[in-house]
């Protein structure tokens, strides 16, 4: 599971001003649960996920992934998570099998298990035909499958997916959605980010709405509907934004 507590990331901008990309964020994601980080571009979704995957260091606050602290034990954290994003690249000159094997070795999967694991995943994702072709030769959909295979080769208990459907056609995007449901069935913990409301609505067990680095609202889709009396997630999102603006203005007046 993932526990995020008061996570904050400040970037120093060129003009010397501080930018709070992620501002005091706290939430949790359980085993067998799909949690969606929902927010517009620049809301802080990617920064949050990069901190959880230990690529970026938080300015303050902390988080644990599968019980391991992201600052103290980054190695263990990375070993326990599979990371996939919409723009993760692949090595164009290598074959799908070479890439998957490379990552398997980095994740300390034993040589014996690598072969069986690859064939298992290949049949699961229906990618046996192009396993030994160079990435350069593959279509976008095929590449996405290779990326998925790469991210789950070590069978991680946690999946972090940063807008994995961005720029994909309907069929390929569907592959991803199916894959996420499969992860849930295997009782993995899935953290998924998107700016597409409908996508969140369809797959999320729980939604964490973030805006300008802060949590706007948290809960299930049903809860949101009951609270606001609205039916469309777009409307609900706008409603929460307006609400937080009003609150800020009230604070300013005080």
């Amino acid at each position: 599971m993932i526990k995020v507590k008061n996570l904050t990331k400040v970037f120093l901008q060129k003009n010397g001003e501080e930018l709070f990309a992620v501002n005091d964020l706290s939430f949790e994601a359980e085993k067998g649960e799909i949690v969606v980080l929902l927010g517009v571009n620049g809301a802080g979704k990617t920064t949050t996920m990069r901190m959880l995957s230990t690529v970026l260091q938080p300015t303050s606050g902390s988080a644990t992934v599968e019980g391991f602290d992201i600052i103290e034990q980054p190695q263990k954290v990375r070993a326990n998570l599979g990371f996939l994003s919409g723009d993760t690249g692949l090595y164009a000159r290598l074959t799908a099998r070479e890439i998957i094997t490379y990552f398997a070795r980095l994740y300390d999967v034993s040589e014996k298990n690598i072969l069986s694991r690859i064939s298992e995943i290949a049949s699961l994702l229906d990618m046996s035909d192009f396993l030994d072709k160079k990435i350069d030769m593959l279509s976008t959909g095929m590449k996405q499958k290779v990326s998925i295979a790469r991210s789950i080769i070590h069978d991680p208990p946690i999946m972090i997916l940063d807008e994995p459907t961005v720029g994909l056609d309907i069929l390929t995007a569907r592959n991803i959605i199916d894959f996420i449901h499969k992860c849930k069935n295997e009782s993995k913990c899935v953290l998924f980010s998107t700016h597409i409301m409908r996508e969140a609505e369809r797959i999320a067990d729980r939604i964490v709405m973030i805006h300008e680095g802060k949590i706007l609202a948290e809960g299930t889709w049903e809860k949101f509907k009951n609270e606001t009396g609205l039916h469309d997630l777009d409307d609900i999102f706008v409603h929460f934004i307006n609400q937080s603006k009003e609150q800020e203005e009230e604070l300013d007046e005080l």
Partner: protein, 675 residues
């Protein structure tokens, strides 16, 4: 660090690179295919061209103005020459020569002879820039020597003297250098240059692909979230660059050896005789590895910093060009491997290579070269690792670059970008314009340089940007006591600068002509002391301080007290266009920057600058008249002894100065603000 993981990364990178056409071509195909072909082709072309020139028919015109029996013997000898055709008489011979219609014009005249013997004056006109004409000239001259010898022999026998009387000294050339040393000498001059350039060019291609390339293709994040540690990634990539560079170097050495053998065998020399000892190659390889790893680490750092392959390549350019220039040093015979040079990377390897090839090197210097390179190597690789761990470097986004320097905004001319550009333009103007002016007339040129290249552009920039000049330049009042302390400090400062100069001179000896030039600058022989003081001390004090401590230092304000002082001082050092004076001048720059920021007034550094230059002039010209001063300046051991007390005095005075100026503008040492 897990070595198994490093090896996994290393293996993958090699596999990836071996499938990249660019890498394979630069690292493997070019060394084993292109260079031998070029070398062999070029040599055989040269040989052929030369023999072709020798056999070429040349047209000449002979004008015999004496036409007696003897002079006709000369022209007859020329007529009998092979591949030489005498053209019909024509008075426009100069035009014909220029147009290459004839290749030489020979005029035979009488000349005065003081001893009663007849002397022919033969003028050969030819065109040096024309290969054919030059060749004709050499052949004709050779023929005329033979004719002269005949005449002399005849004259000697006429007065019954044996012609052996001319052979007073019989010179026999005996070159004791064994053939392998001769070959080593030749190879030692050019090979280091080739090796360094090739290492750099192969390493550059690989390095730019390894990190900047991953950023460009979006694979960097994927690898960062994998279970590998960053240090393992850096080391794995680092080893890859080293391996590819090493492969290139070995392939090059091998292909060069074969090409040389081929050329030598073509020229008919027995190759079996001139085997180079294998131990030399082993030594070179041992010395090459630290250098190779150093260059790889530098290239890796650049690639880590750059956002894209293209950006990495443009940052690599100056490194490659600089490396090429340093590597060329072995071609110049004047440079010897001293301990000073042994500390400069690339230069040291280049010179050591030459010494090893000639079988004549000192082991101690070998260790200094290898050791100093290893130290730099460790620094460079830790920079790479640090960069790779720095998230703002790894996730650097594309910055917006504005070229609107001349906009109305006041802020722009104080941006680092603009100041560096300004500095480079001034540097170029100084180099091209100032150099010409000073070559014409030193004093006048110096004056013009200071006013037109240094002072006026600075004022102009500030005017155009509508800055408050008085405020920017810090033309502020400061306590009179400060001036007194500065006057007192000027003496230890000057002495320390002199000692430092001597120390540098000791490590990197400079030529006599250089010292002569420096002396001319401060000596007043043909001009008055006042004039010298004006041009060499007062004017630079005002102009250079205005540019550096007045304007440039403001750009680095945000970076803190010491950083802004040091960067400005280094630029100040560079502007003096003299590698030997760079260090003392930079230290002076730091001193003057300190005076500026502590007093918040431009006048103290101006005075200090004036005093430093002025005292140098006075000491340079009057030291003869004061025996004690002369001793301090001339004798080495005394001046070294002067350094310590000077340092102590300067330190105490600086402390006093700092204390006097504590109520200044600083919040702390990291940040300071304008009053």
């Amino acid at each position: 660090m897990n070595f198994k993981k490093i090896f996994i990364i290393y293996k993958k990178e090699l596999l990836d690179l071996m499938r990249d056409k660019r890498t394979v071509i630069t690292a493997i195909v070019i060394p084993i295919v292109l260079y031998p072909l070029l070398m062999i082709g070029f040599t055989s072309l040269m040989i052929r061209q030369e023999s072709k020139l020798e056999k070429q028919l040349v047209d000449v015109y002979i004008q015999d103005n004496i036409s007696d029996e003897n002079s006709q013997r000369i022209s007859q000898a020329l007529v009998e020459m092979e591949n030489l055709r005498i053209k019909a008489e024509n008075e426009y011979y100069e035009n014909m020569l220029e147009d290459n219609f004839i290749q030489a014009f020979i005029e035979i005249n009488d000349s005065l002879s003081t001893s009663g013997y007849h002397v022919f004056k033969v003028t050969i006109s030819y065109n040096e820039t024309n290969e054919k004409s030059k060749m004709a000239f050499e052949r004709i001259r050779q023929k005329l020597y033979e004719v002269e010898k005949d005449f002399v022999t005849e004259r000697l026998s006429a007065i019954q003297i044996n012609e052996d009387i001319l052979n007073a000294v019989d010179i026999e050339e005996n070159n004791v250098a064994p053939p392998e040393q001769m070959l080593g000498f030749l190879l030692g001059k050019i090979l280091p240059y080739f090796l360094i350039v090739l290492t750099l060019s192969a390493g550059a291609v690989v390095a730019s692909d390894l990190v900047a390339g991953e950023k460009e293709r979006g694979t960097l994040e994927t690898i960062l979230v994998s279970a590998a540690k960053r240090i393992e990634l850096v080391i794995g990539k680092y080893l890859t660059i080293i391996t590819i560079s090493l492969i290139t170097v070995l392939l090059n050495l091998f292909s060069m050896y074969l090409s040389f053998s081929y050329i030598i065998s073509q020229s008919g020399v027995d190759i079996a005789e001139i085997q180079l000892p294998i131990s030399n190659f082993v030594l070179i390889l041992i010395a090459m590895i630290p250098l190779l790893t150093l260059l790889s680490a530098i290239l890796l750092s650049i690639s880590t910093y750059a956002r894209s392959i293209k950006e990495a390549q443009s940052y690599q350019m100056p490194i490659i060009i600089g490396g090429m220039m340093l590597a060329m040093i072995s071609i110049f015979p004047a440079f010897e491997l001293t301990y000073g040079f042994a500390l400069i990377p690339i230069v040291n390897f280049s010179l050591l290579f030459r010494d090893i090839m000639m079988g004549d090197f000192e082991l101690s210097k070998f260790f200094v070269v290898v050791g100093s390179t290893i130290v730099l190597d460790i620094i460079a690789i830790s920079v790479s690792i640090k960069l790779f761990k720095n998230e703002s470097v790894l996730f650097r986004t594309v910055e917006e670059k504005s070229l609107k320097f001349w906009g109305k905004e006041k802020k722009n001319v104080f941006s680092v970008q603009f100041v560096i550009l300004f500095f480079i333009i001034i540097l170029m103007a100084l180099f091209y314009l100032g150099g010409t002016w000073q070559a014409k007339d030193l004093m006048n040129g110096l004056f013009k340089t200071q006013i037109f290249i240094i002072l006026l552009p600075t004022i102009l920039v500030l005017r155009i940007s509508r800055s408050d000049i008085k405020k920017t330049l810090r033309m502020n009042y400061t306590k009179p006591i400060n001036y007194l302390i500065i006057v007192l400090m000027s003496i230890p400062v000057l002495l320390l600068a002199a000692v430092m100069g001597k120390l540098i001179n000791y490590i990197y000896p400079v030529s006599e002509s250089y010292l002569e030039g420096m002396k001319n600058l401060i000596s007043v022989e043909d001009k008055s002391v006042w004039f010298s003081l004006f041009v060499v001390a007062l004017v630079p004090g005002i102009c250079e301080e205005t540019m550096f401590r007045g304007y440039i230092i403001n750009a680095f304000k945000k970076r803190g007290f010491w950083v802004s002082i040091i960067i400005t001082a280094v630029l100040f050092g560079i502007l003096h266009l003299d590698p030997f004076r760079m260090i003392p001048v930079t230290l002076l720059g730091i001193y003057m920057g300190y005076l500026l920021l502590k007093t918040n007034s431009i006048f103290p550094p101006m005075i200090a600058h004036f005093l430093n230059n002025g005292l140098a002039i006075i000491l340079g010209n009057y030291s003869d008249k004061i025996p004690l001063l002369n001793k301090i300046l001339e004798e080495d051991d005394i001046s070294i002894w002067m350094a310590l007390p000077s340092l102590v005095i300067l330190f105490l005075l600086l402390k006093l100065f700092t204390k006097m100026n504590t109520n200044s503008i600083f919040v702390n040492n990291k940040k300071y603000i304008d009053s």
